[in-house]
């Protein structure tokens, strides 16, 4: 059964973003999701940061402070080995969800 909550979707987006881009700070994650989705998805900061910290506590991502290209200190996140495994699970679960929803929509 697919785990089909919205929280899971946000986690998936973040994990996927980090898998593709290496290390990114929170703002970078927001921008990436926005542009990669063709401006369709806009992540709320109020949900993003709690999610980032929760995932860090779960050991899926790790963080360190580094300088941005404009010489500003920011906290960068990157995927851990455990996070890569979690990404696979989340992706699979999401695929199931999409498949399931499609099947229901096509039914008629």
């Amino acid at each position: 059964m697919a785990k089909n909550d919205l929280q899971g979707t946000l986690d998936l987006l973040v994990l996927k973003t980090l898998a593709q881009n290496g290390a990114l700070h929170g703002y970078g994650i927001v921008l990436h999701i926005q542009s990669a989705s063709g401006e369709l998805l806009r992540v709320e900061e109020g949900s993003l940061y709690p999610a980032l910290h929760r995932m860090e506590q779960s050991g899926w991502i790790a963080s360190e402070w580094a300088m941005t290209e404009t010489n500003r200190r920011a906290k960068y996140y990157k995927l851990t080995v455990q996070g890569r495994r979690q990404l696979e699970l989340a992706q699979e679960s999401f695929d199931q969800l999409v498949k399931g929803v499609r099947a229901v929509l096509r039914y008629a």
Partner: protein, 878 residues
């Protein structure tokens, strides 16, 4: 990994806090930068970034809780905050903590005595695995077996690791001051290993010391060691003389091993070969420890088969005999004690509920005052769950402080319970001496304290959250009026308090009434004018019936000759004394129906007994001096006996005997019928009774009743002297007035009744305070409305009536539901007592009136204040 980080976060909360802030700030800075890069002026870019980000404070809170340092760290912060809040309203805090202390304290005391007496009376490892095994003929709680059957059980059963046997024996201890009558328990050597107990000092005896002739060693019970030897460890190796035989003390059992609770000495049981083959003398108690994995049910099933096998092999003695396997604990506790305790603990938990309702009402009132604070915190971004947690932390803290106070109150209460118990009675209650505030009690107190905190806090906390933010902030700190919902809740709590108090008061009243009538059952005998004591004849000295009869004749003659003595009689059982056993009854020329047993009380009395106790002989004759060992044995029977065994017949002339199966006892001819007399205090269904003449059937163990017109206790020294002149070696037990003797039988009941009354009074007081609180609050909130009413021409009496009517509604609702509750529960009390009906109309109506009076009294002050409101002032103040 995550858990470790959460844990380390604990120690660097400020650092974590700063880090989150920096991270969020960086985000805003980056967004501003980008805005500027896209051509916005710096100010606009910044505004745009902030707007986009939303409320940074609330995001920070949520990130922080995701960091889950919250689990420990923020709880601690909550506790500190809660403590500060409580300090800020000391009146509320002190009142709440005091009421909680009383509620929790009472529960702590009852529970710790219940824990010691009922739940863990013996320090026997895995007590639930220890059972008693008994032959069962007439169903009852009699646990008794014959020796030969015991031997067969041990051989034929597989459910038990071991079976042990014991039997009680009265002995006299001589050679050290006054002769003393002691209770000894003869046990097989494995008795101690079945129970898995170790002696406190010294050792227990082994198999080699359980052989006839080698068995002269004794183990002391703790209580007797303390009483008789002052707890001197040098008692080991000492010689004591029991029934003219010398024993060496080899060990002392620990305080926590009062089993059987009346035992003074444990002696090795060394049966002769002949005794081992006896199947008719059923006077042995069998204890066993179940093998691992065997349930009581399985053991019971196995023993039923063993019983059938034995019944086939020995039909003359074992036909219709089954075997009962029961937990040892059931036998130790008896029937009434656990019931009393359950009743009391239930009542005391009711008190705790009343306390909770009271504290909840205080919290409601306080919640109203705190609305601005809560509104402010909500406005600043605190989530509902966060505030709820904070409020509940406060309640839990109150509960814990209440627990601390409760332990003090409980300790004090327990101390009172302990010192009020007569030592004579405490001796016979296994576990009584173990009562203490132990770990289990502590855990129980903390548990109910946390429960009480949450129960009393949850409704007010949820109510406190239901606020209209905008209105609240607009109104500022003025106008703290409760919502209709809040009023309804407060009313419900007040009604619940009254209802619980009504139920408790009814229960306590029924119990007290029952106790009172039971205490006065025997009044017609003038029990305060009768001296009673017990005598047990040592069989070694009084080995013939002639010697026994002579003792009674001589001793009674001496006593009757004493100045001031009007009567001196003996009886195995005095009226209402709950002594004496049921015996099998045989009627000559009447076939017994298998499976249907005839039984009767068997009461040997001296010939003047009926006269002294004013029991009329309604037919035939009484005993007289002419009845002796040389004449035909005679018997007098009770009216109930006639009704049961000779309905519509004249019993006089029929012959009966009570010796049980295969008895050699001679037949006794019924010569008279005595008026029905109750020998029990507890049981109001009369048992058939047969009286024998002690001059023909002398008892070995009996009660003397010496009647006088003066103070019976003043008679005691001359009674002692008179008896010593007959036999200097015979000990007297329990020299008391008959009144004292009867009252001691009911110590447990008196205890339970007193504690129930205390519970009820506490509940009543709290309910009165509850009504007062609700009404005072109502008047406070409605001062303005009352002012308007008065200004519009309402008379003061109208206001008074209006407020009292409100109080009346609360009381009526509480009284109504309380009476229903009481009616439902009162049979629990009534079942325990004699002479009480669960629907006693006098008690129910008296209590309805009393509760109404209490509640009107407690709402009188607020109502008067309302009627004295100055309309001008009330209107101006808002």
């Amino acid at each position: 990994m995550g858990a470790f980080r959460r844990f380390t976060n604990l120690f660097r909360r400020t650092a974590v806090n700063h880090e989150i802030e920096a991270e969020l700030q960086a985000h805003i800075d980056l967004a501003t930068e980008r805005g500027m890069r896209e051509g916005l002026p710096p100010e606009a870019a910044r505004r745009e970034a902030l707007l986009r980000f939303g409320n940074p404070a609330s995001t920070r809170e949520r990130v922080l809780s995701a960091d889950a340092a919250l689990s420990f760290e923020s709880v601690w912060a909550d506790i500190r905050f809660a403590a500060r809040q409580l300090l800020r309203s000391p009146g509320f805090a002190i009142t709440s903590i005091l009421t909680l202390s009383i509620g929790i304290g009472a529960n702590t005391a009852i529970f710790s005595s219940m824990d010691a007496v009922v739940l863990h009376p013996l320090a026997v490892p895995r007590l639930d695995r220890v059972v008693t095994v008994a032959e069962q003929q007439i169903s009852g709680d009699f646990q008794i077996a014959s020796l030969a059957n015991y031997e067969d059980w041990a051989r034929q059963s597989h459910s038990f690791e071991q079976l042990a046997v014991r039997t009680g024996k009265d002995m006299s201890l001589t050679g050290a001051g006054d002769a003393e009558h002691v209770q000894t328990t003869l046990t097989s050597a494995n008795f101690f290993s079945v129970l898995e107990v170790q002696p406190l000092i010294g050792r227990v005896y082994g198999e080699s010391e359980s052989l006839p002739g080698r068995d002269s060693v004794a183990v002391l019970n703790y209580g007797f060691w303390q009483r008789r030897f002052g707890g001197d460890p040098a008692v080991l190796g000492r010689k004591v003389v029991l029934d003219q035989r010398e024993y060496t003390v080899v060990g002392v059992m620990p305080k926590t091993m009062q089993y059987p609770s009346d035992a003074d000495f444990y002696l090795p049981f060394a049966p002769m070969q002949k005794e081992l083959q006896n199947r008719t003398d059923r006077s042995y108690f069998v204890t066993g420890r179940l093998r691992d994995g065997v349930t009581i049910k399985q053991a019971q099933a196995e023993m039923r088969i063993v019983a059938q096998r034995l019944a086939q092999a020995y039909p003359s003695t074992n036909r219709d005999m089954s075997i009962a396997v029961e937990p040892l604990l059931d036998g130790v506790n008896g029937t009434y004690t656990p019931l009393y305790y359950r009743l009391l603990l239930g009542a005391t938990l009711f008190v705790l509920l009343v306390v909770c309702a009271n504290v909840a009402n205080l919290q409601f009132a306080r919640g109203l005052q705190r609305r601005p604070e809560i509104a402010m915190r909500t406005a600043l971004g605190a989530s509902r769950t966060r505030i709820l947690r904070q409020l509940l932390t406060e309640s839990a803290l109150l509960g814990l402080l209440g627990a601390a106070g409760g332990l003090l109150v409980g300790g004090l209460y327990l101390h009172l319970i302990l010192i009020a118990m007569p030592a004579r009675i405490a001796r016979f209650m296994a576990g009584w001496s173990n009562i203490s505030l132990n770990g289990r009690v502590l855990a129980f107190s903390l548990l109910i304290a946390a429960g009480a905190g949450i129960v009393s806090g949850i409704a007010p906390a949820i109510e406190a959250l239901r606020i209209n933010l905008a209105n609240q902030i607009k109104a500022g700190s003025r106008g703290t009026t409760g919502s209709g919902r809040s009023h309804r809740l407060r009313n419900i709590f007040a009604v619940a308090q009254v209802a619980l108090a009504v139920a408790l008061v009814v229960g306590a009243a029924l119990m007290s009434k029952g106790m009172w009538s039971m205490l006065h059952l025997a009044d017609s005998y003038r029990p305060e004018k009768i001296l009673t004591f017990n005598v047990t004849l040592p069989p070694a000295h009084y080995d013939t019936v002639q010697k026994q009869v002579a003792w009674y004749a001589d001793s009674l003659e001496k006593l009757r000759a004493l100045p001031g003595v009007t009567h001196a009689e003996i009886s195995i059982s005095l009226p209402n004394s709950d002594r004496g056993w049921l015996h099998d009854l045989e009627i000559e020329n009447r076939k017994t129906v298998p499976g249907k047993y005839q039984s009767t009380l068997r009461i040997p009395v001296s010939d003047g007994y009926f006269l002294a106790f004013q029991i009329p002989i309604v037919a035939g004759r009484s005993f007289n001096r002419g009845d002796s060992l040389e004449t035909t044995p005679v018997a007098v029977v009770s009216q109930k006996f006639v009704a049961q065994y000779f309905p519509g017949e004249n019993p006089i002339g029929h012959r009966i005997r009570t010796g049980g199966l295969n008895t050699t006892e001679p037949w006794a001819t019924i010569v008279g019928v005595a008026r029905e007399t109750s020998y029990s205090t507890w049981d109001d269904t009369p048992q058939p009774a047969v009286y024998f003449d002690a001059a023909q059937v002398p008892p070995m163990d009996t009660t003397y009743a010496v009647m006088t017109n003066g103070n019976p206790l003043a008679l005691a020294p001359s009674v002692r002297k008179a008896l010593v002149s007959v036999d200097p070696n015979l000990p007297l037990d329990m020299v008391l007035t008959y009144r004292q003797y009867l009252n001691e039988q009911m110590t447990g009941l008196i205890y339970a009744a007193v504690m129930l009354v205390i519970d009820a009074l506490i509940a009543l007081l709290l309910a009165a305070i509850g009504i007062f609180g609700v009404m005072a609050n109502l008047v406070g909130e409605q001062t303005r409305e009352i002012g308007v009413r008065l200004a519009m021409g309402a008379r003061r009496e109208d206001v008074l009536r209006m407020i009292l009517r409100r109080a009346g509604w609360l009381t009526a609702a509480g009284l109504g539901s309380g009476l229903v509750l009481a009616f439902g529960l009162s049979h629990l009390v009534a079942n325990l007592l004699r002479g009480v009906r669960s629907d006693d109309p006098v008690i129910f109506s008296a209590i309805a009136v009393a509760i109404t009076a209490v509640s009107i009294a407690s709402s009188w002050i607020p109502a008067r204040r309302a009627s004295h409101v100055d309309p001008m002032q009330a209107l101006r103040s808002e």
